[in-house]
């Protein structure tokens, strides 16, 4: 029955497969056809307005939708429509919107920012994103770091200084901390005694005779960098060995006195060099300032 009906109402292409398998040949629905013509007209309008047609070694630039934006140094630039200028305009608009806050931050001293609730809230919200994109891979999302490779930024101990100025300098220019290895220079026993002495500096020693033997070795080998008082020097980022905060050697994780000593011995033998990258080429002055404020506020800023 259905066969009869179709044959009356629609055309087929005329051929048949397997006896009765036929192919419809319906005209396009008119709404479809008109939509198609509309896209053709749209394309022609688009060709005129936007950069489209190649002409020799250049191309048509479009008319009637120039982009004007203000650069960071205050110049007005007008250009024919293109995605790069569109981005620059987008960035300029965003700058203009944030200018109120950013200008304030630029002008404000660090302590002003800390005192002003609105300013510090703005700095905080921007810093969180910046920290996650750029710093968290090493210092971890919360800034707690990893004992060994990446220092904790939450505690009171600073290798390179915890004032705003010092932190800013660290972020801007980066640092390489270099603790040399002493494998060739000192004997295994000397290194063992030194390790015991280092532990005793923060009250974690367990063998006073060994520590006593380590003391003169410390003065002659280590004091140049760590200082006679073993408190470290921020000039070379040498760690303070008298506090119970550890940045490279994971003493807190070691359960027994022997394991603690072994961990230190390991560092004294091989040494360790760690690099904090420089950010001055990657981040703007304002971004560095915001991050400095954030790191300082994370904990222990001086």
């Amino acid at each position: 029955m259905s066969k009869d009906k179709t044959q009356q109402t629609v055309q087929t292409t005329g051929h048949a497969w397997d006896g009765d398998l036929q192919e419809f040949n319906n005209p396009l629905p008119s709404w479809w056809l008109w939509a198609f013509y509309a896209t053709v007209i749209f394309a022609i309008v688009y060709w005129v307005l936007y950069p489209t047609w190649p002409v020799g070694n250049t191309y048509t630039k479009g008319v009637g939708n120039d982009i004007t934006y203000t650069t960071t140094d205050g110049k007005e630039v007008t250009s024919h429509w293109n995605t790069r200028s569109l981005l620059l305009k987008d960035l300029a608009d965003a700058r203009a919107e944030q200018a109120k806050y950013v200008e304030q931050l630029k002008a404000a001293s660090y302590s002003d920012i800390a005192k002003d609730e609105e300013k510090s809230a703005f700095a905080y919200s921007m810093a969180k994103v910046l920290f996650a994109d750029n710093c968290a891979a090493c210092h971890q999302a919360g800034g707690n770091g990893v004992i060994g490779p990446y220092p904790n930024l939450l505690d009171d101990a600073w290798l390179w200084g915890g004032t705003f100025e010092k932190i800013e300098e660290t972020i801007r220019n980066g640092h390489v901390g270099n603790m040399p290895g002493f494998k060739g220079q000192l004997s295994a026993r000397e290194i063992d005694n030194l390790a015991e002495y280092v532990l005793s500096l923060s009250g974690q020693g367990s063998d006073a005779t060994k520590a006593q033997k380590g003391k003169p070795l410390f003065s002659s080998n280590c004091a140049v960098c760590h200082g006679q008082d073993a408190k470290g020097q921020i000039l070379m980022g040498s760690a303070n060995l008298t506090d119970s905060i550890w940045t490279i050697v994971n003493v807190p994780a070691a359960a027994t006195p022997e394991a603690k000593r072994a961990a230190i011995v390991n560092l004294l033998k091989t040494g360790k060099s760690r690099q904090m990258p420089a950010w001055k080429d990657r981040l703007s002055d304002t971004e560095i300032k915001i991050l400095t404020f954030y790191v300082h506020e994370l904990g222990g800023g001086q």
Binding site: N82, S85, D90, C138, R274, R282
Partner: protein
Amino acid sequence: MKHETIETNVGWLIVLTLIVISIGGLVEIVPLYFIDDTIETVQVDGKDTIRPYTSLELRGRDIYQREGCYTCHSQMIRPFRDEDMRYGHYSLAAESQFDHPFQWGSKRTGPDLARVGKKYSNEWHVQHMMNPRDVVPQSIMPGYPWLMQSLHYKDVADRMRALKMVGVPYSETQAEFDANVERYGKDVADKLNINSAMDNLISQAQAGNYDGNKNDITEMDALVAYLQVLGTMVDFSKFDEGHFAEFR
């Protein structure tokens, strides 16, 4: 020709379909080869700053491809505000002119890597490659611990020759070398010299000691050398803000 003839003849259908489809490609792609501004000129003090990869970096790029890093990472920062803020300056066409094949991509399971160079320390990259979760606890990137195996580099000159055939300016003759000195300066031209490819590879790996292991040149050395150069060849502070928009 009648509609029916095409529809009932597979050979014709294939040929004509290919022609119709290729028109789209030809119209969009071919003119770019003739338009002067397609690839930006990036010169500082009269020298090109975007150079082909050194022999070590090139081996790193090969490993990047072998391991399929591109299945999760793109290498093109689009000109959008969010991308600019997260990754840095948008990528230039010139920056991938020596990539064969290009690594642009659009699948980002992980972040874009077009400007990852110098962002992290070598040590970080090595730790991250060995086991990403050691440094990024929530990472879903797989570890690549086997990259600590020795690098195979005896054939690096051949690899450079192959790229030279598709237009990458590595030099083999004196004339080509001189042209590179003119274009990039002597220091860079030395690195692009196929005749000293192996020596260059060894000295860069030893000087850089990317993987922290001085005794062996490993695949890790090559990969990290490659990652550390990505996106670092243009010093954008040397150009006006709108400079590269003028090429569009």
